[in-house]
């Protein structure tokens, strides 16, 4: 419900906004469902998985981490590959989505 209220609010806010860099939690949600959730889950990771959960984590932290993984300034075989194909906007959307999810 909170998520819905927020999404309505964002929709409203951005319908008045002229910036081309608006984040979309909808786009974030679909990217997360298609890519990130495979390892990190949606609300939580598998009880058996070695991957950190993302739901409810700090948005800015996730944005920075994803950009570092993409730019290979932070090294991880698997994350460098997966984040390598993400645009700035994808990253903002994903971070926006996950940070607003309740774990």
């Amino acid at each position: 419900m909170k998520l819905l209220t927020y999404s309505l609010a964002t929709l409203l806010a951005f319908s008045f906004s002229t910036t081309s860099h608006a984040t979309s939690i909808y786009a974030g949600k679909s990217k997360a469902a298609a890519v990130c959730s495979q390892c990190h889950g949606i609300r939580k990771t598998s009880a058996e998985a070695p991957f950190p959960p993302l739901a409810g984590r700090n948005e800015e932290y996730m944005e920075n981490a994803l950009k570092q993984y993409r730019d290979k300034t932070r090294v991880s075989d698997i994350m460098n590959n997966i984040a390598g194909s993400l645009s700035d906007r994808d990253i903002d959307n994903i971070a926006s989505y996950y940070s607003r999810l309740k774990p």
Binding site: Q38, I42, S46, E48, D77, I78
Partner: protein
């Protein structure tokens, strides 16, 4: 002297070479053993203990011939999106993954590894010694035990802490109990004779006897290496379990889980070839003390009488590659799917003969089946994987055994759900793209798709609550929740979190035999 030294040198060289060689072979067999164990502990529950494939593709020297080791390594690391294959990055070391790829590409399919009655007896575990001391009513609040819905949660890795049978009160949509199953739970059967007992079978063929009153496992036994097939007799006294690996089935005492008789599954297939066969569905029926079991590869259905030494009547030429089935007409008729002939064969269990072979779309998979009474007719609904062009749900008149209609749906389907009090027959769309998130609802009267619900994840295995008021759907892998809808409003009314939920089983099924029929049909 010099000669001697040379000889010595030579012999030292020879000795060290042979030492090196044996160390090498030792290391090789060592890796082989390690990889075999790693395969059994991580891969076998889906890919088959014999490397022959099960829920997931066969992994052996034949099937992986010519595949790029790098591509295979990446696939194991990241998992495969839109399938159950999880990422093993961080769970297996990089060197283990590399060794595993080599191991898989050099190991042939194993020949039907044995699992005997002796192995079964040795695996019997008793968690509650004296069942008579258990409380004689539920330890939680519930109007009727029929309101219980069980969900087979696979767990992301098909094993470990996420693998469990989750029981829910279908009126409150709240979880009432969890039974950890070590490996992926696949099928849940409820005793028709005593409401307190349920049986959970896993993909590695363990059976857990579950006390629903106290929500705990009281006993367990391993009946094979792989295979979900399990049925219970109408009096609740016997279980029959069938395996994919190895090719056999067993009758157990439902009370103690002691194995009573093992059956070797083999026979002459519809093409006249003698074959050893996987077990398909196993089913008990409310009309007689019998089990019916499908021999997938032999294309036969065996009817086992629950008397004396459990004699078998074999019904041959049922269809190529049989799989699952459902009952109609008080349990006297069995509708069984044949993948390779794309038919559903109607069998008269009383006369023990084939009634008719009906068209069933493309690669039929009837799941738990569904049948509804509409305007005096009993209609059966058949889902199918639809791996060719035709994506339809077949509707048959089960009285006349005629095809009524093939309802076009948006993709392949795996399981239908129906209820006497619900207006729609729900089918899960499983085609591997965005459609996999959805289920479609077919109006019972018009036999048209009237609504598509976006459930999320890989939505499958719809099931109605016993009162018909709620529709439960697994949001499956990537979804990690079971979603509940009002059966008429089709509005979301609940969500229960769990890891990779799959099959959903209402205890109400024991009352109406096949989903969609009214309990009155059983009188």
């Amino acid at each position: 002297m010099e000669l001697k030294i040379t000889t010595l040198k030579k012999s030292i060289l020879a000795a060290s070479i042979s030492l090196l060689f044996s160390a090498n072979t030792f290391a090789e067999t060592d890796t082989k053993h390690k990889m075999h164990k790693l395969y059994q502990d991580n891969c076998a529950s889906c890919h088959g203990a014999d490397h022959g494939g099960y829920l997931a593709p066969a992994l052996n020297s034949e099937t992986l011939k010519g595949r790029s080791p790098t591509a295979l390594r990446t696939l194991i690391m990241t998992g495969s999106f839109e399938t159950l294959m999880p990422p093993f990055f961080g769970r297996l070391s990089d060197s283990d993954i590399r060794d595993m790829v080599k191991h898989l590409q050099s190991t042939p399919k194993l020949a039907n590894p044995a699992f005997t009655i002796k192995d079964m007896k040795a695996s019997l575990k008793v968690y509650i010694k004296d069942e008579s001391k258990l409380p004689n009513k539920p330890t939680f609040k519930i109007d009727s035990m029929d309101d219980i819905i069980g969900v087979a949660a696979r767990g992301k890795y098909g094993r470990g802490n996420g693998s469990e049978a989750v029981f829910i009160n279908s009126k409150t949509h709240k979880q009432i109990g969890v039974i950890p199953t070590v490996t992926a739970a696949h099928i849940i059967e409820f005793s028709p004779a005593n409401e307190r007992w349920a049986y959970v079978k896993t993909d590695t063929a363990e059976i857990y006897k579950v006390d629903l009153y106290t929500m705990q496992a009281v006993r367990s036994i391993k009946t094979g290496w792989n295979g979900p097939g399990i049925g219970i007799s109408r009096d609740g006294k016997y279980l029959m379990a069938g395996s994919f690996v190895p090719h056999n089935a067993v009758i157990l005492d439902a009370d103690t889980l002691e194995p009573l008789k093992q059956f070797e599954l083999e026979g002459i297939d519809p093409d006249g070839k003698m074959v050893s066969s996987d077990s398909g569905m196993v089913i008990g029926t409310p009309y007689a003390d019998i089990f019916a079991i499908a021999l997938e590869n032999a294309g036969q259905v065996w009817v086992v009488d629950l008397k004396d030494d459990f004699p078998v009547t074999k019904i041959k030429n049922v269809g190529r590659h049989l799989h699952d089935a459902f009952l109609t007409h008080k349990g006297k008729k069995l509708m069984i799917a044949s993948y390779d002939d794309s038919i559903v064969t109607a069998i008269d269990l009383e006369k023990r003969e084939i009634i008719k072979k009906l068209p069933a779309g493309c690669v039929p998979h009837v799941g738990g089946g569904a049948a509804v009474k509409v305007d005096g007719r009993t209609l059966g609904f058949g889902t199918n994987f639809g791996t060719c062009d035709k994506t339809v749900v077949s509707v048959w008149d089960l009285d006349t055994m005629k095809l009524v209609k093939q309802v076009p749906v948006s993709g392949g389907t795996e399981s239908p759900a129906a209820h006497a009090n619900a207006p729609y027959v729900a089918v899960d769309i499983i085609t591997k793209d965005r459609r996999a998130r959805t289920i479609q609802l077919i109006d019972k009267k018009s036999l048209e798709v009237v609504k598509t619900l976006d459930v999320g994840g890989h939505a499958y295995f719809p099931e109605y609550s016993a009162d018909g008021k709620s529709l439960y759907v697994s949001a499956g892998y990537a979804g990690d929740e079971v979603v509940v809808y009002g059966s008429t409003s089709l509005k979301k009314t609940g969500s229960i979190q769990m890891e990779s939920p799959a099959g959903i089983f209402s205890r109400g099924r024991v009352k109406y035999m096949t989903r969609g029929l009214s309990p009155d049909e059983m009188e």
